[in-house]
């Protein structure tokens, strides 16, 4: 048995350390360490209620709008503030731009560059992959960054700026848009669709959304006359065996995303072993048995409706600033794959039925979602009525409790707030990566990444095992959210 410490683990959002016990050429055990604490929950206590809209997005520069949406929904829920219909559509668009941009930032800048690593230099596919995806120097980054910047132009109009907008409010969006602006937004979105259909997919969004099985996906990738980056990924995934890497067998969870009068685009629920179910939100707790926080006297996990545990850096039995959220006492996985499994899309359900939740499935689900959400954005844009209000001005109550549950690109994000005298009395946040990168709980059960890393192959002499890199990044972690 030997011990490896991988850190700073980069091309994730924020600082990360992974400790590995290696035995017989594979990872025997893993501990995931979030090494930074920032204290946002304590910071918010005592602030005027609406100030949460200034502080919350600054928890995270990559999930900024998701934090705003969670905060706005939590505040609205303290007093049942209605959401103006246009505001709901505008906020969905703002949120979707961030989530789609995040999926692609993950794909192009964080995940794919690992195929350019020297460890793969002997593979027949390496030269192509490196030319396309090498960090900073590859062609793909040069194609992607201008496309991403143009997509963000939607937010210049709809949200003033990104990240850290104040346009997202409990009653809707501050920014009404005119008919002329709707037309301009449509043109920007058309440009983005063209990037996806030429560069990422080399096919229509509709064709990608219609892929329903792994066999169909592989056949589609094989048949591309012009290979887009998604098909390139599918061939690399087969070559490396990403469908055998980072496997978990956990309950998947989604809070549901993009609400509308017809219901959310992606529903709330859980999924495991081919069965979808209802998400018991009230059965979410946080355990701090292995995190640097002072546990309750009875050691019991806490509800996010209650005040959080204070930090305690001196604890010898802890190894992370990340708490361990549990659903009905169990580990749950979150993310695009979980969201699409709950939503019932046939492709991720087939991938998981065959191989379990793996690196391959997590990445495929993300790109599938890019196609699905971009098409939804076009519908939301058409549904906006520029003559109707974008915001409802119903004031917040002085006292009340509310939860704001939404989906960031990387999974389920919840804010729980209680107000007294118009000020924040308690504020608790459980971020997506807190679920996925949680440490062990009181029963010693490791978090999703810790489970996914077990069995990962380690080559002779590897100090930053490439398999571990694929697995860790397949979750698209956001450490700055995790350690709010």
């Amino acid at each position: 048995m030997s011990r490896l410490i991988v850190g700073p683990f980069n091309r994730v959002e924020g600082d990360l350390e992974v400790r590995l016990d290696i035995s017989a050429g594979m990872v025997a055990d893993a501990r995931v360490v979030s090494p930074l604490y920032r204290g946002f929950e304590a910071m918010l206590v005592g602030k005027p209620a609406l100030d949460a809209l200034v502080y919350a997005p600054r928890i995270c520069g990559i999930c900024s709008v998701s934090q705003s949406v969670a905060a706005a929904r939590a505040l609205a829920a303290t007093g049942a503030v209605p959401l103006a219909a246009n505001g709901g559509l505008a906020v969905n668009l703002i949120h979707a731009v961030e989530n789609v941009a995040d999926h692609l930032t993950h794909f192009y800048l964080f995940f794919m560059p690992d195929f350019a690593r020297a460890v793969y230099a002997g593979e027949a596919w390496h030269a192509d992959a490196a030319a396309r995806f090498a960090a900073v120097k590859g062609d793909a980054a040069r194609d992607f960054l201008p496309a991403r910047a143009e997509l963000m132009n939607l937010l210049g109009i709809l949200a003033g700026k990104w990240p850290h907008t104040l346009a997202v409010q409990p009653g809707g969006s501050t920014r009404a848009v005119s008919r002329a602006e709707l037309a301009r937004l449509g043109a920007v979105l058309a440009g983005f669709r063209r990037f996806l259909e030429r560069t990422l997919f080399a096919d229509t969004l509709e064709a990608v959304a219609a892929l329903s099985t792994r066999d169909a996906l592989l056949a589609w990738a094989e048949a591309r006359a012009v290979r887009g980056d998604f098909a390139h990924y599918v061939t690399l995934s087969q070559a490396v065996g990403l469908n055998r890497l980072g496997r978990t067998d956990l309950r998947h969870m989604s809070y549901g995303a993009y609400p509308s009068a017809e219901g959310p685009l992606f529903p709330r629920g859980v999924f495991r072993h081919r069965v979808a179910g209802v998400l018991p939100v009230d059965r979410i707790t946080e355990d701090v048995s292995h995190a640097w926080y002072r546990a309750a006297p009875d050691g019991a996990p806490r509800s996010p409706r209650d005040p959080g545990a204070p930090p305690d850096a001196a604890r010898e039995d802890a190894y992370s600033w990340c708490k361990a959220p549990r659903l009905e006492g169990e580990v749950a996985e979150v993310g695009a794959l979980s969201r699409q499994l709950v939503a019932g899309h046939p492709l991720p359900r087939d991938l998981v039925a065959r191989d379990g939740a793996t690196v391959e499935a997590r990445v495929v689900a993300r790109l599938l979602e890019v196609a699905l959400v971009t098409m939804a954005m076009e519908r939301w844009l058409r549904a906006i009525d520029p003559a109707a209000p974008f915001i409802d001005h119903t004031p917040l109550p002085a006292a009340g409790e509310g939860a704001g549950l939404t989906e960031a690109a990387r999974g389920s994000l919840g804010h729980w707030v209680s107000l007294q005298g118009g000020r924040i009395a308690n504020y608790q946040i459980i971020a997506p990566t807190t679920w996925n990168f949680s440490p062990r709980d009181a029963a010693g059960v490791p978090g999703p990444l810790e489970q996914a890393l077990r069995g990962a192959p380690v080559r002779e002499g590897e100090t930053e095992p490439v398999a571990v890199q694929h697995i860790v990044r397949s979750f698209d972690p956001c450490m700055v959210c995790t350690v709010h």
Binding site: I5, G7, P8, F9, N10, R11, E13, G14, D15, L16, P35, L36, Y37, R38, G39, A42, M43, K47, P48, L50, V54, R58, C60, G61, I62, S64, T105, P113, D114, A135, V136, A141, R142, L145, P146, R148, A149, E150, M152, N153, G156, A159, G160, K161, W162, P163, H164, T165, L166, A167, Q169, S173, T174, R175, A176, A313, W321, F390, I391, E464
Partner: protein
């Protein structure tokens, strides 16, 4: 050995992150005309390492950082994003750099003392920023300031190898252009202390007030005020807007192709200033004494402001009065010659 640049050799940039949200990097990725990679090339800058962009990870990075701290690996430009974290109790344990077990603060200080230029990217790295809000439980500060107090991690008298103080590209987040302009000037060797303001922020963007170029200027002139979030009128009187005091070119240099906070119909919160994170009032509500906002425009004598405000309020055109408290205009500019034609 200090970093000196012989002509033609690319400047080596090392980017570190500590107590922040990563939003300045994410904003920077949205650079336009040119895009970020083109701007780096134009500035003759190569990345030694950036946490979000570079291939190297783990041990490869530890070797690089140890060499940089020892002076064996020249660093021409050190960028820090996020606050310096000193807590709890001055130990720095709230951020031990992954893989090293050592406070991030100590890595930053060691490398900063070797670097040619030291750049604080964002208000956290410059002054402490949002990470220092509330009771500042994590004991966050900036590289050369703790809020408005000179000092911070490196001390008030810190000068980098090139003889400059820490360059504070303050903002929450930064506009990508604020960073690329500064980098292009560093690359060209033209950045001098005279290009920095009293908080060592680049004058390239802080020579302006956010008020400059605000599309609501006419409402401001006639004191036609917004009342609710989303209204078209001036947001200074009621909604907490600090655009007449805040230093930045947000309404001259568009965000994300064409926006700004004010164009988004929400208040400027003065995010380029030290201490913005604790304004002492609700961010979106203007504090007033006897009905007059406490925070008056920069340089404006109070008596004159009150006198001019009452005069201009009396002279407000109907168009502005009717439009100010609405989300979309009900009265538009109109050429009267058309009516008599």
């Amino acid at each position: 050995m200090t970093a000196t640049s012989e002509p033609g050799r690319p400047l080596r940039l090392l980017w570190l992150q500590s107590g922040g949200c990563g939003g300045c990097t994410l904003s920077l990725l949205g650079a336009e005309k040119p895009d970020l990679l083109t701007a780096l090339t134009a500035a003759n800058v190569e990345l030694l390492w950036h946490p979000s962009l570079s291939e190297a990870t783990g041990g490869e990075v530890r070797v690089l950082l140890e060499a940089a701290a020892a002076g064996d690996q020249p660093v021409d430009i050190l960028c820090l994003e996020g606050s310096v974290i000193n807590g709890p109790g001055g130990t720095g344990r709230f951020h031990l750099m992954a893989g090293t077990g050592k406070p991030m603060r100590d890595w930053i200080a060691a490398i900063a003392r070797r670097a040619g230029y030291v750049v604080a990217v964002g208000s956290c790295a410059a002054f402490g920023g949002v990470t220092a809000a509330g009771g500042n439980e994590v004991e966050a500060c900036g590289l050369a300031y703790d809020g408005t107090r000179a000092g911070g991690l490196l001390g008030a008298n810190f000068r980098s190898a090139k003889g400059l103080p820490v360059i504070n590209i303050a903002g929450c987040p930064i506009h990508p252009g604020w960073f690329t302009d500064t980098l292009l000037q560093i690359g060209a060797g033209t950045l001098t202390p005279g290009d920095l303001d009293e908080w060592e922020r680049p004058l390239a963007y802080t020579a302006h007030l956010v008020h400059h170029g605000c599309a609501r200027n006419e409402f401001y002139e006639f004191k036609a005020s917004a009342e609710q979030p989303g209204d078209l009128g001036c947001m200074m009187e009621n909604l907490g807007c600090k655009g007449t005091q805040a230093r930045a070119d947000c309404n001259i240099r568009p965000w994300n192709g064409g926006g700004s906070c004010l164009d988004g119909n929400y208040a400027c919160i003065n995010c380029t200033a030290p201490g913005f994170e604790e304004p002492g009032h609700a961010f979106a509500v203007t504090p007033k004494v006897a009905g007059i906002p406490i925070g008056l425009p920069t340089d404006m004598p109070k008596a004159w402001f009150v006198a001019l405000a009452s005069l201009s309020k009396a002279a407000t055109p109907k168009r502005l009065r009717d439009n100010a408290a609405r989300p979309t205009p009900v009265v538009l500019p109109h050429d009267k010659r058309k009516d008599s034609a």
